[in-house]
Subunit: 216 residues, 2 copies
DNA sequence: ACCTGAACACCGTTCAAGT
DNA sequence: ACCTGAACACCGTTCAAGT
């Protein structure tokens, strides 16, 4: 690793390098010392730009959340809601570490403001009162978070042959007397661990429930 | 810490001690060396019972998931679904580390079989076809996971004065031109970050959407 | 089998110092 | 201001050895 000359470091460069490392080796394997080594500087060089490792985590999370596209205008509100939720899921799928970053660290507020603004605006324009709009936003956001995190985890598990073998093993060894339905529906369960169809199914359930309460 | 005599260690004792440490200091601060110290043994003593730290994580997760109560029989199926989802949420609230344990490590399959069996059985008895039952189970499970994880994280943030101050600050400093709806609905948003009411709101949305497709 | 003790290859972070 | 280098207090885990 060549030694980097002075004054070539920047917050953006560090965030970009950190993100690359997280996506290459997984968010767990990531370390400040690793980033520093990749940049060809000593570990302490990073402390000029970030006060701590958590600070860098926040910066990476903000960097990723800023990539969220805007809400499409001129569409029925259910389609707009769908678009926001799908965008967030897609971003998480493209950057799997985002799920962990959103779940682990306290939020500064800025990152989630964009997705909140998108959803809340759509819901308010649709005629929902403030309380219902806020409740619906939290529900939709946490659904996307949970569904996509689970999907990512399951996909990772399928890629790891050892973990996948273990899962198949225990699924097959489940007592048909203790878990009759799980055993019976094993093939269906395997097919519903992720994918666009599964995500949209849950999203449509929420939207269908919401349309019952539609104002106007 | 007194030195523990031989043959007093057991997997159960280690799991219980690990769980206590995780709940006292948070899942992040938890370490094998810490557990060993608490038990009054050397770090390597634990390796007789667990092959690795991840192995111990799995054991703690299994231990917690086994605490899930059974599904109430003799009730309308929507009430049964509600009961299962609420039980899982309650378990997560009582043991906040469970959220992280479910999200971080690959699953052996055994832990989730019980909640799956409960939900799937209820849905199949209600008359849903296998595919719909499986899809609905995944949707409900991931909703509970996402909603409760978020709730726990927000509660932790409120307890940390520094993090809470930062969040309030950025919420108040949000540009009213860039984020008009978030600024307008700030009080409502603050009230919908968790709690029984918020959880049930989302759950009822899903159930309402589901009842549209009810067979029979 | 059950457990110890030293050692290895890591961490994040502090502190004093250099430019 | 920007960065180095040594040091501190930790990690999980391996390995050889003891009982």
């Amino acid at each position: 690793m060549a030694r980097t000359p002075r004054n070539t470091l920047s917050p953006e460069l560090i965030v970009r390098t950190a993100l690359e490392l997280m996506e290459a080796k997984g968010a767990d394997a990531f370390s400040l010392r690793g980033v520093a080594a990749e940049l060809g500087v000593g570990p302490m060089a990073l402390y000029t730009y970030f006060r701590s490792k958590d600070d860098l985590y926040d910066a990476v999370r903000n960097h990723l959340m800023a990539l969220l596209p805007a809400v499409p205008s001129n569409a029925p509100w259910p389609d707009q809601v769908r678009a926001v939720c799908r965008s967030l899921r897609l971003l998480m799928l493209q950057h799997p570490c985002l799920a962990q970053l959103l779940a682990s660290r306290p939020l500064s507020g800025h990152e989630t403001a964009r997705v909140a603004e998108g959803l809340l605006g759509v819901l308010r324009n649709a005629g929902f009162d403030p309380e219902t709009a806020a409740r619906t936003h939290t529900t939709l956001f946490t659904y996307v978070l949970g569904a996509t995190s689970w999907e990512i985890q399951m996909a990772a598990e399928r890629r790891d042959p050892e973990a996948w073998r273990r899962l198949r093993m225990t699924m097959e060894s489940l007592s048909a007397r203790e878990f009759p339905t799980v055993v019976e529906l094993a093939p269906e369960l395997a097919r519903t661990t992720g994918g666009d169809e599964q995500f949209d199914y849950g999203l449509d359930l929420l939207l269908a429930g919401l349309q019952v309460r539609t104002p106007s």
